[in-house]
């Protein structure tokens, strides 16, 4: 019995010795030393900063720092709860020669909220332990900023107005392919699509465009851009309201005088520009029921600067009209035409008195008939008297 116990103990010792011999045979000190000189030389995210839900890539470059020893790598993977690797791990063996660098690229999805995360890259060596590297990445939900620097207080129908805007990038990385899309019902934007390009972190780019509105509406501004390959949009709505432009040219007709020559009326007067902008091609004409006649069917006063004035004269004929509309038109710097109409009273002595004096002259007629009646009556009485 005692002999059997010695035999068992001896067998255990032999097995333990055999195990030590196997381990000593695979883990040589040279391979471990060589693996120690393999390091991650760079870790690059594209995009550099992710929006939540963005996809991108992580490229890890591993460099063999040994000058005379190659090393075999056989498994590389990326692991994180937030930065999800959507590409498979590297499972093939490859030899990383002395001083060589090998890239490992992973497709990833940022599946976290704002914050800084550290996905772990691990690389297994055939002849040594694994290499672990934490690649820092930031998830930031900060969009580009579209700001309106200056815009008209009010818009006018058909008048082109310039809007001064700015695109700023408050993110920690640059974004690319920035395109501003301008649209709206009854809106003509120039240009309707504006390519801005790339914008670096912390930079700002001015963006100016003109808008011509045919009706009160809402201007839609869509700022599209790519963070890496992920499209993003910033939207802004601008109300387009019509009103009186405080700076607009304002030609005013004054000193109106009406004369009549042979059925042709002459209206003379002055046009003063009471606005703050130049009124171009100021023109005066008459509207129905007036019928413009030569020599001044229309009168072009020309350009009137603010506080400037010019005289005009128009000629027309009119039948049975007490007032006629006088139309004044001018253009702004963009060629938009503005019209205003002012009624001018034709004095009864000039106008067709026809209109004001068409009634029967009742009193004179009654007077004549009365006189006639007295005369005839008198003679009838006289004749009767002398007959008797």
């Amino acid at each position: 019995m005692k002999t059997a116990r010695y035999i068992s103990l001896f067998t255990l010792v032999l097995l333990a010795g055999a195990m030590v011999g196997v381990v000593a045979g695979f883990s040589t000190p040279e391979s471990i030393v060589a693996a120690d000189k393999v390091y991650v030389s760079s870790a690059t995210y594209d995009p550099e900063v992710f929006f939540p839900g963005d996809t991108g890539t992580l490229t890890i470059e591993v460099t063999n720092g040994n000058t005379d020893t190659g090393i075999v790598v056989n498994h590389a993977q990326l692991s994180s709860d937030t930065i999800i690797s959507t590409s498979s791990a590297y499972d093939t063996s490859s030899n990383l020669g002395p001083a060589q660098t090998q890239s490992f690229t992973f497709s990833i999805t940022a599946d976290g909220l704002n914050g800084i995360y550290f996905p772990t890259f691990s690389l297994s060596f055939r002849d040594a332990d694994s290499l672990y590297y934490r690649a820092k990445v930031k998830i930031e939900d900060t969009p580009l900023v579209l700001a309106i620097l200056d815009k008209p207080d009010t818009f006018s129908q058909g008048k082109k107005k310039i809007i001064y805007a700015q695109v700023a990038n408050p993110r920690g990385n640059s974004v690319k392919n920035i395109i501003l899309d301008i649209s709206g019902t009854g809106i003509t934007a120039t240009p309707p699509i504006l390519f801005v390009g790339d914008i670096n972190s912390g930079a700002k780019i001015p963006v100016n465009f003109s808008v011509t509105a045919d009706q009160p509406t809402t201007l839609h501004l869509n700022l599209n851009y790519d963070n890496g390959d992920n499209p993003h949009t910033v939207k802004m709505d601008l109300p387009i309201t019509f009103g009186v432009d405080k700076k607009q040219a304002n030609p005013v007709i004054s000193n109106v005088q009406v004369k009549s020559d042979a059925g042709i009326y002459h209206i003379t007067g002055d046009v003063n520009n009471a606005g703050l902008e130049t009124a171009n091609t100021v023109m005066v004409t008459t509207l129905s029921p007036a019928v413009p006649q030569d020599p001044y069917k229309n009168y072009v006063v020309g350009a009137l600067k603010p506080d400037d004035f010019g005289s005009f004269e128009v000629t027309f004929s009119a039948t049975d009209a007490e007032t006629i509309p006088l139309q004044l038109s001018f253009k702004d710097a963009d060629g938009n035409i503005y019209n205003s109409v002012q009624d001018v009273k034709l004095s009864s002595s000039l106008a067709g008195a026809a209109a004001s004096n068409t009634g029967l002259p009742i009193i004179p007629i009654i007077a004549v008939i009365a006189i006639l009646a007295i005369f005839i009556g008198g003679w009838i009485i006289y004749l009767k008297k002398i007959k008797k």
């Binding site: 059925g263 000039l350 026809a354 004549v368 006639l372 005369f375 004749l383």
Partner: protein, 222 residues
């Protein structure tokens, strides 16, 4: 002549009763009509001046042409009217079997124009008051090519408030003094054509009333 001319105004019966026995003579009636013609010519000159002013832009010297033509028209027009009135009375009185020469009738009708001289003077005074207030449209050479514009210009002149008021007043004056003349003509007809007072009144009254009604109509449609 036993009676003065003044008597023809207030007692035409007595005046013509005496005048019928005298020799026919158109001298005094002619002078009366001439006097009326002169006053009428002055009035016509004033009215013509407005027309001349309106047409001044058409042809140089147009004002003078119009002034001369209106003066001559008024001066001789009165004589034409004298003959027309006398002719009308003569024809109508013939229907009533009137007797007497046309010359005698013309003479007596001429006397009848005497009140109208006063009427013409009054008309002249009224015209002098109103005409400066009339605004006269000018017909330019351009407008002259369009008859419609000329018509409009004339219409504008005639419908000028001052012009219309003056026309109405002068018409009433003319009618009053025409009736005065008619009163004289009735007595003139009675004696010159040997008619009864009734027939004489009809001979004169019918054309005179018709003429007055025509004047009223013109005034109404003006």
């Amino acid at each position: 002549m036993k009676h003065s001319l003044f008597e023809v105004l207030i007692k035409p019966g007595g005046f013509f009763q005496d005048a019928i026995v005298e020799k026919e003579s158109l001298k005094i009636p002619g002078l009366i009509v001439l006097a009326l013609g002169i006053v009428s010519a002055v009035y016509a000159y004033l009215i013509g001046g407005l027309t001349g002013k309106m047409m001044a832009g058409l042809i140089p010297g147009m004002e003078s042409i119009i002034a001369i033509s209106t003066i001559l028209g008024a001066l001789f027009g009165v004589f034409v009217f004298w003959v027309i009135w006398a002719g009308l009375f003569y024809l109508i009185s013939s229907l009533f079997k009137g007797e007497g020469t046309f010359k005698r009738l013309l003479e007596f009708v001429g006397y009848g124009f005497l009140p109208q001289i006063f009427g013409a003077i009054l008309t002249l005074i009224v015209a002098l008051q109103y005409l400066p207030r009339v605004i006269v449209p000018q017909i330019t050479s351009t407008a002259a090519q369009d008859p419609q514009l000329i018509q409009e210009a004339v219409k504008a002149l005639m419908h000028d408030p001052a012009m219309m008021e003056m026309t109405q007043i002068t018409s009433i004056i003319s009618i009053v003094f025409l009736l005065w003349s008619a009163n004289i003509w009735i007595f003139g007809m009675q004696h010159s054509r040997k008619l009864s007072p009734r027939d004489a009144a009809l001979c004169v009254g019918i054309p005179v009333v018709a003429y007055i009604l025509y004047m009223v109509y013109s005034m109404a449609v003006m």
